[in-house]
């Protein structure tokens, strides 16, 4: 009974403290780190429920995330180029992750010579943790105000209990700005946060188009490399390596532009691209209609789960000028016996796979068998398969060996012919795939040191 009383007392005191501290905060939104930033030591980062506050993390320190750390609405976290952020291990509710809540901002602008690195606490960056180690901590989550196609229009990001309101994402502003992530390497994340949910390397929940996401490496995550829940973020120069699930996963009406996206598959990985339209409901609007130019998806031979891509749950999406090699299975487009499906999106011209290069899909290297690479999934029949095969051969897709591998994704034989025209918002390059003649990931990533 005494503990009871103490608990009540504690709650009262905490409650009072919360009220007092929140009063103070309106005057001074800026928080200073708990220890002197100039000493160059390890600084623990813990969220007391009020977010970590507006602050700058500097390259001379190492920051250690303990638990879920939120950048609350109205707060901005600035991270200097060259800063290393580590995270404590733990699963379930004990997982550590950085969450930029709706209305919060992250300004993490690294450089090719001084990238910003997110990794596990045990990683000394000198090899104490091998490149292939996964699931040592959570991941980075950006939540925004852009549109979803769900009911209700606001959702709770997976892994964060619905009682934590800062886990909400989704709104009406497709031009929302969550800040900048540039030259950022996110390594060894993806811990299990409960009931089969794992944190993706980078989770983008309803992130808007004004957000900059460029030069990102996701290395060895237990779940997907990047998962986009709705919204309209633009992704450029992305390298996904050795992730246990999918390379690029989208859902709930993702409509961003993607260019230079490279997936290096894992022997136990899943699809290079998993593309869902909506879940609740599947025919929610806006439909998932992203445009992807210059992707390079390299699968792993001998892995039965390795698909190039799956389109389902009414997902649309267009792929141009991309390269897909070394997968067990090609592309499948879901066809259901009733209701809206991705096949309907294909028929409506909202799902296109054109001007791409394929090689070694289910061992197939013969150009005359290209019609086997695109199939209807789930309840689909030979009728739909025939339609898809006809389309695929006529859509300027070719079977050519570009001479790329998991260790070197830069084509030995540059693929420069038969290019689709770049629309506005895309960089006009004269090659297919994520790389031309050089590797933009060289130097600042752990994959290509």
């Amino acid at each position: 009974m005494k503990t009871n009383f103490l608990n009540i007392l504690l709650v009262v005191v905490l409650g009072a403290a919360t009220i007092l501290s929140s009063c103070k905060k309106t005057e001074d939104e800026t928080k200073t780190p708990t220890t002197n930033p100039n000493t160059g030591t390890t600084i623990a980062v813990k969220d007391d429920g009020n977010g970590i506050g507006t602050q700058t993390w500097t390259a001379n320190n190492v920051y250690v995330l303990d638990g879920f750390c939120f950048v609350n609405s109205g707060q901005t976290l600035t991270i200097e180029a060259g800063t290393v952020i580590k995270a404590k291990s733990g699963q379930g509710a004990d997982a550590s992750a950085l969450v930029i809540a709706k209305g919060g901002k992250i300004m993490a602008e690294g450089t090719a010579s001084n990238p910003i690195i997110f990794t596990a606490e045990a990683d000394d960056l000198k090899g104490s943790v091998p490149n292939n180690a996964r699931g040592l901590w959570g991941g980075v989550i950006l939540l925004g105000n852009a549109t979803l196609n769900t009911i209700p229009a606001e959702q709770q990001i997976e892994g964060i209990p619905t009682t934590e309101t800062r886990g909400a994402y989704g709104g009406t502003n497709d031009a929302d700005n969550s800040g900048v992530l540039k030259y950022v390497s996110i390594r060894h994340g993806g811990t299990d946060i409960g009931a089969g949910n794992e944190i993706n390397g980078l989770t983008l929940g309803a992130v808007g188009s004004a957000t900059t996401i460029d030069y990102i490496e996701i290395l060895s995550n237990s779940d997907d490399g990047i998962e986009c829940f709705g919204g309209k973020p633009n992704l450029k120069h992305i390298l996904i390596a050795n992730c246990a699930d999918d390379g690029l996963d989208y859902d709930q009406g993702f409509r961003g532009n993607v260019q230079f996206y490279c997936v290096l598959g894992a022997s136990d990985g899943n699809r290079c691209g998993e593309h869902d339209g909506g879940t609740s409901p599947e025919d929610g609007t806006p439909y998932a209609l992203p445009t992807i130019f210059n992707a390079t998806y390299i699968g792993t031979v001998g892995n039965d789960d390795c698909h190039v891509m799956t389109f389902r749950d009414n997902a649309g999406g267009n792929y141009y000028n991309s390269i897909f090699v070394d997968c067990k299975k090609g592309i499948d487009i879901e066809k259901l016996t009733s209701g809206e499906d991705s096949y309907a999106r294909f028929q409506a011209g909202q799902l296109k796979i054109e001007n791409n290069v394929f090689y070694n899909i289910n061992g197939e290297t013969d150009a005359s068998n290209i019609n086997t690479f695109l199939k209807s999934g789930k309840d689909g029949t030979a009728t739909e398969d025939a339609v898809l095969a006809d389309y695929f051969t006529s859509a300027n897709n070719t079977v050519v060996n570009p001479g790329i591998s998991l260790t070197n994704p830069v084509p030995a034989t540059a693929q420069t012919t038969n290019l689709a025209t770049y629309p506005a918002g895309f960089e006009s390059v004269n090659y297919k795939g994520a790389f031309g003649s050089s590797n933009w990931a060289q130097g600042w990533t752990a994959t290509f040191k």
Binding site: M1, Q156, N197, D283
Partner: protein
């Protein structure tokens, strides 16, 4: 140790009681009201021997010689009654219950021959008839007549009561949330902490004084019931020496005497209902498990230290067994009457099914005309070993005819040892063949202590004071629940197994622990007085209850660095596969973390006033009000961070009025009207934000904002009584719920997340009929007795806003109301009994029907899941051998009813789950003295 001393004492007292003198004992009640009559004079005609009844109306004429006696029973303003030809043998205690009628105009003496007394209506039926509110029940005399061995069996004989699963009692067909069970008027926990109703089969019938079923609230009852309150009253002072014991053996073709019973190796004390430590977290793994690459050697050692059993195996199962014993007696010690009882039972049961199936479906969009399959299992097996034991003891002392004290202790433990295995096809991910295994052990216990007293102050116009103090400790321990899901990869003749962690969780073990302490005290004053010549009562009092609960859980996952194929999934956990660098490793989520615990605290203070006043001869009114002050809080995490707790506080005061009017136009007829206000409260679990995964894999998360529900109840009822036990009643009720708590889900969550929310309102309209009749209008059928009750309930509840938004996307016209959760619209109960005392034969056949009811509410246009109607038929036959032995043969679930839950969409049924536990055949031998 104390318990052993206690038992030894009991047996010594028992042996003393075999002294060779005769006695006549019994109870004197008012013939018209059924009330006990204290202070009645009992005389043995033609001798100087006599006594007076105590305040319970009990009398005892001890130390008599064998012989034939005539008793004279007299009480002021009552007709004096003479009972002749009462024969007692040496060592016998004869129970003679006497009813006195109020003297009419002139005082006259009534003479009755004792043998006829037993045939008269039992006190409790008079009580039901004469009660000021709707209640029914069964007395100890009736229990011993029906031969029911425990309270659950006895309640089957009570009209308007449904007993499901042989143990849970439903009154008026209202779901568990609106029912309540008390022991001697004090709260006792259910062995299942998430239920309100208590398993009634734990109370042996010979230690029970009576079972009362209140169907309407009165101010002197706790206010948190709406459907019914079952009060189990134990005997303080048994009338005579009784002993009974029974042995039951059960056979179920699906689960007993089989070689393929699904099970796994547990601890050595599983049969006693608790774990011997086998399932505890290994010593190495207590505390924080280091992360990988921090101390890999230590981590590997920890991972290796866990028990390696993850697969259930098929093995032998024996017969179901149940043993009960009950002893009771009264004794004069230093001139005081001291009574005691002791009861114990032990039950061990095998349950299994091998032909279960389940599936999950989704409605993809509003144009879809059929459901899309998510996953389906056509091979689902389950094996369970259930243990329940209970020990109960009581000691009562009658200090004098005005003061009585008693002490009751009840301890109860149960466990379920469950092993299940299912193979399913996952259509979400390319029609993959997968399997899921769950091994679990759930052990529950509680110890309830009660001390109570009853006093009459003759100088204060016989003011009656009753008090009770109780302390209950309850716990639930679920050590080492193991969940294992894996893929099956069939490649020609080559089958391999692997864990696809991107589709489901890694193998995990859960350790869950709950403790609860409950202190309760009540004090009641009853002041009798006469108003316009009619016996009236004024009653007032109060109660205080304090409940404290702690819950902890610890989850340990077994991750794999790189997914591998195994020839046997057991190899996943093999020592040579354990490696933080290239293999399997353990990872924990700590029990001491706020994310994994909650503390619940509840305090209820109450006070009441009520008056019970008969007037104009044919009317009786009970009116009053109860004040209940509730403080309830649950401390659990709300924000993801430790410093902000989700404190769900309810702090309210309710004044609960109660008005019950009975009009008796004729002696055997009642017309009743009642208006009452009651409450329903959320459970600690429902208010805490701890996430828990159920066996189906759904996440359950409470809602700290839950508030109390207030219910206005109106009852109208007509009753006609005939010969003893025969009656017919029709009634209607209306209940209006403000802020009812309904189970729903979070539509914002990405994975199914079950929760509870208060919705605006709900209404319930009910019609009831009760009928019982001896079929003696045809002579050949005179030994048959028919008893039935029917309930029709129309309920409607507001749909939660989130739920409605999700439904209306798919169907614009979706109603904003639906029926209440788990509320069957039709419940039918019927029993046909045969009883022939001359050949010592009784037989019963009982049928219970529950119409289709809402079982699971679904988001996203997925149709809600309904449990199909159930038909339960039970038969038993009992034969007496000699005076003491009864042999029973019983068949349960004769119709082999299954539990089937379905989605119904576009006139097509889709199976959510379907399983049946099979028929049960029991033989029982009982001895009664």
């Amino acid at each position: 140790m104390n318990r052993i001393v206690f038992l030894i004492t009991l047996f010594i007292i028992t042996s003393i009681s075999f002294s060779q003198t005769a006695a006549i004992r019994g109870k004197v009640t008012d013939a018209s009201t059924g009330e006990e009559l204290p202070g009645t004079n009992i005389l043995i005609v033609g001798s100087s021997k006599g006594t007076t009844t105590d305040f319970d109306g009990n009398y005892a004429l001890n130390k008599l010689q064998a012989g034939t006696y005539t008793l004279q029973c007299s009480f002021i303003s009552y007709q004096t009654k003479e009972l002749q030809n009462i024969t007692v043998k040496d060592g016998e205690v004869k129970i003679i219950n006497i009813k006195l009628g109020e003297a009419a105009l002139e005082l006259e003496e009534v003479q009755v021959v004792a043998t006829k007394v037993e045939r008269t209506e039992t006190a409790i039926i008079t009580m039901q008839r004469k009660s000021a509110s709707v209640l029914s029940g069964i007395s100890s005399q009736e229990m011993s007549k029906t031969g029911a061995s425990n309270a659950a069996g006895a309640l089957k004989k009570v009209t308007g009561v449904t007993v499901t699963g042989g143990k849970y009692v439903y009154v008026r067909g209202l779901s568990d949330r609106y029912s309540k069970t008390t022991l001697n008027g004090a709260d006792i926990p259910s062995l299942d902490p998430e239920r309100n109703t208590v398993q009634m089969d734990i109370f042996p019938s010979n230690i029970l004084d009576n079972l009362l079923v209140y169907k309407a609230f009165r101010p002197d009852l706790p206010a948190d019931f709406t459907g019914g309150l079952v009060d189990v009253k134990t005997k303080d002072i048994p009338e005579k020496y009784t002993i009974n014991f029974s042995v039951k053996l059960g056979f179920n073709p699906q689960s007993t005497l089989r070689k393929d019973f699904l099970q796994y190796e547990g601890g050595k004390t599983d049969w006693l209902g608790f774990d011997d430590g086998t399932r505890e977290i290994p010593l190495e793994a207590k505390g924080e498990i280091p992360a990988r690459y921090v101390d890999n050697a230590k981590l590997d050692n920890i991972t290796k230290s866990f028990n390696k059993t993850w697969k259930p195996k098929q093995g032998f199962s024996g017969l179901n067994q149940k043993y009960t014993v009950g002893i009771g007696n009264q004794k004069e010690i230093f001139g005081k009457t001291v009574g005691f009882f002791f009861g114990g039972s032990y039950d061990y049961k095998y349950k299994a099914f091998n032909d279960g199936s389940y599936g999950r479906y989704k409605l993809t969009d509003k144009n879809a005309d059929e459901l899309s399959s998510q996953y389906e299992s056509k091979m689902w097996k389950d094996g369970r070993k259930n243990t329940i034991w209970s020990l109960m003891g009581g000691l009562g002392i009658r200090l004098n005819s005005d003061n009585k004290l008693s002490y009751t202790i009840l301890t109860n433990a149960s466990s379920t040892n469950d092993a299940s295995h299912a193979r399913f096809i996952d259509y979400r991910d390319g029609d993959k063949l997968r399997e899921k295994r769950v091994l679990s052990f759930n052990s529950r216990k509680f110890v309830a202590n009660q001390i109570k007293g009853k006093h009459i102050l003759p100088k204060a116009n016989n003011l009656k004071i009753e008090w009770l103090g109780s302390y209950v400790y309850a716990s639930q321990n679920e050590p080492d629940i193991r969940f294992l899901t894996n893929d099956i990869n069939v490649n020609g003749s080559d089958t391999t197994y692997y864990v696809d962690k991107s589709s489901y969780s890694f193998p995990r073990r859960f350790y869950r622990n709950m403790r609860e302490m409950n202190t309760f005290a009540r004090l009641d004053f009853t002041y009798p007085f006469r108003l316009m010549g009619a016996k009236s009562k004024f009653k007032f009092g109060g109660a205080y209850s304090s409940k404290y609960r702690e819950y902890f859980q610890n989850t340990i996952g077994f991750g794999e660095t790189v997914s591998k194929n195994y020839n046997d999934i057991q190899d996943y956990f093999a020592d040579d596969n354990i490696s933080a660098v290239n293999g399997v490793y353990a990872q924990n989520s700590m029990a001491d973390d706020d994310n994994n615990s909650y503390i619940g605290n509840q305090k209820i203070s109450s006070a009441y006033l009520m008056a019970d006043i008969p007037f104009f001869e044919k009317f009786r009114v009970v009116l009053g009000a109860r004040l209940e002050k509730l403080f309830m809080e649950t401390n659990s995490i709300q924000s993801i961070n430790d410093d902000v707790k989700g404190v769900g506080i309810i702090d309210t005061i309710n004044i609960l009025p109660s008005f019950n009017l009975t009009f008796s136009p004729k002696e055997m007829m009642n017309i009743r009207f009642a208006y009452n206000r009651t409450v329903a409260r959320p459970s600690f679990r429902e208010k805490s934000t701890v996430q828990m995964e159920n066996k189906v894999g759904d996440l359950i998360i409470g809602n700290p904002l839950l508030q109390q529900t207030e219910i206005d109840n109106i009852d109208l009822r007509w009753e006609q009584y005939f010969k003893p036990g025969e009656m017919i009643a029709f009634g209607g009720f209306y209940k209006n719920f403000t802020n009812p708590i309904e189970r729903t889900f979070n539509t914002k969550a990405q994975n199914p997340e079950i929760t509870w929310r208060n919705v605006d309102e709900a209404q319930m309209y009910g019609l009831e009929a009760e009928f019982s009749k001896r079929l003696d209008f045809v002579n050949a059928l005179k030994n048959l007795f028919f008893r039935t009750n029917l309930t029709y309930i129309y309920s409607q509840v507001s749909i939660d806003e989130q739920e409605l938004e999700s439904k209306r996307y798919f169907d614009k016209n979706y109603s904003d109301k639906r029926e209440m959760f788990e509320q069957s619209p039709w419940i039918i109960n019927a029993t046909l009994s045969y009883k022939n005392d001359s050949i010592g034969l009784t037989a019963n056949i009982s049928y219970t029907y529950n119409a289709k009811k809402l079982a699971i509410v679904n988001p996203n246009g997925i149709p809600d899941v309904y449990q199909k109607s159930t038909n339960d038929l039970v038969f038993n036959i009992n034969k007496k051998f000699g005076k003491r032995f009864i042999a029973t043969f019983e068949v349960k679930n004769i119709l082999n009813n299954r539990s089937t839950n379905i989605y119904d969409f576009n006139n097509k049924e889709y199976i959510y789950n379907d399983y049946g536990w099979g028929r049960e055949f029991n033989i029982k031998l009982s001895y009664k003295f």
